[in-house]
């Protein structure tokens, strides 16, 4: 699926949280949405998921405008995972995945759950309550939920935040493999620059609600004369402070 964002803005009361942003993600590509905390990433993702009504601008998914008429249809081909939202803690892993598989209209529910839980090493936790899992295990369950409908467009908000390096690497490797075997366009919001360099084809840098730069990781690193994306991020994030 191709995602296109045109002149998108969001104003809360009198504060412009997102200012006229434009970008697109080509089919099967991954875009990194970067920026300091409070720069408008979550609001932008919220608008792309149809959870927040934009003040102005348009979102196109596979050349179809995202609006209240076709939202349901488009949402069935999308999904989202974030460590800041959770699945009901009192339900078992199987029960949670079963509920979401049905909400997304998955046809062979049991088979899909088995596939995902096997690939994400969740088999032994299937009958365990989600609230009793470790943060690494919960993260994988959340990832399984986000892939339950075989989405064509996946939004990931800091998918490896608060994970130990081992689990973090497992998740990144899994996403790489999954993407190579499935048709999937991804938007990844992350503060882990190594993760972004590894997973993303292109990057959009946001600051105070605006897009301040975009390109491939290599292009941005070269353009700003830094050695890696982390230093490039810091340079862009602090640029105004330096001027002041």
């Amino acid at each position: 699926m191709k995602l296109e964002v045109l002149n998108l803005s969001k104003k809360f009361n009198n504060v412009l949280a997102v200012k006229n942003i434009n970008f697109s993600i080509e089919k099967n590509k991954t875009l990194g949405l970067l920026g300091p905390n409070g720069c408008g990433k979550t609001t932008s993702i919220g608008m792309m998921l149809g959870l927040i009504t934009p003040s102005s601008g348009k979102i196109f998914i596979d050349n179809k405008i995202l609006n209240s008429t076709n939202r349901i249809n488009l949402l069935s081909m999308m999904n989202f995972a974030s460590p800041y939202i959770e699945l009901p803690k009192k339900l078992t892993v199987f029960q949670n995945l079963n509920v979401y598989a049905r909400l997304y209209g998955v046809k062979k529910v049991k088979q899909r759950i088995e596939e995902l839980t096997e690939n994400l090493n969740l088999n032994e936790f299937l009958n365990k309550k989600t609230g009793e899992l470790s943060s690494g295990q919960k993260n994988r369950v959340s990832l399984a939920k986000s892939l339950i409908n075989k989405p064509k467009l996946l939004f990931l908000d800091e998918p490896t935040a608060s994970l130990d390096p081992d689990v973090g690497d497992f998740v990144r490797k899994y996403l790489e493999n999954y993407k190579s075997e499935n048709e999937l366009t991804m938007l990844l919001a992350s503060h882990n620059m190594k993760e972004v360099e590894r997973l993303c084809d292109n990057v959009v840098m946001m600051k105070k609600g605006e897009i301040v730069d975009k390109g491939t990781c290599k292009e941005l690193i070269k353009k700003h004369g830094r050695d890696n994306l982390e230093e490039t991020f810091l340079k862009i994030a602090r640029s105004k402070d330096e001027l002041e």
Binding site: F12, T42, L51, I52, L75, L87, P88
Partner: protein, 263 residues
Amino acid sequence: MNWNKIYALSLRHIYLIKGSFPRILDLIYWPTIQIFLWGFISKFFTLSSSYYNNTVGIILSAAILYDFLFRSSISYNMMFLEEIWSRNFTNLFIAPLKLSEIIAALTFTAIFRTLIGLVPAALIAIPLFGVSIFKIGTPLIFLLLALYIFGVTLGLLVTSGLIRFGPSFENIAWASLFFLAPLGCIYYPIEILPEWLQIISKLLPLVHIFEEMRNILIYNIINYVQIFKAIFISNLYFIFGVLVFYRSYEGAKNRGTLINMGE
């Protein structure tokens, strides 16, 4: 004792109260409602102590029916609150679900939670107090239907408040039913209310439901017109509740509260 620390700790709660209108409302609300409800009940028993003399269990039957209303509304609210408490709210709203499907699912599931509470209570009342609400007969089904529709409507309105104001509206969820208790004439006839309150009361289905319950149990008179009037009024409120819910949802999308609602 360090008074500064005591002050600081008090301040933490004062900030919480000051910053939340629903919390302030909640503090004022309960004593006011208690005074109204028990004031009218006392007035009724003072003026007409012989009213219930020949009929055992009217009060208990009213309590069971009122609890049915209470449970249906609270069940509705609880299911929605559970999504907020478990931080599952965003997951639900990004799923390809129509609002009408969410309302329907909550409405149908609420009946199970309600019956789980009601059936044992109604059965226990038979051997324990010799009171059976089943004595009402076939009209009981229609009375329960009217109560259920109205209970679900109250649930919908509170849920709309939760979407609009966030989890701080939770207190209103618990209090919503008691607000209607004095006006609903659950334990006393409508004549006990001042005339101006009677006009407001008649706009609620509760008065018609509980008046009919008393007519059946005391006088053995079944007035289906009144019962269907209660169902009709409940349905009007339900439609209003659905409209408010849709409006709150659109408002929440404008304010961006659907993406970060949690504990």
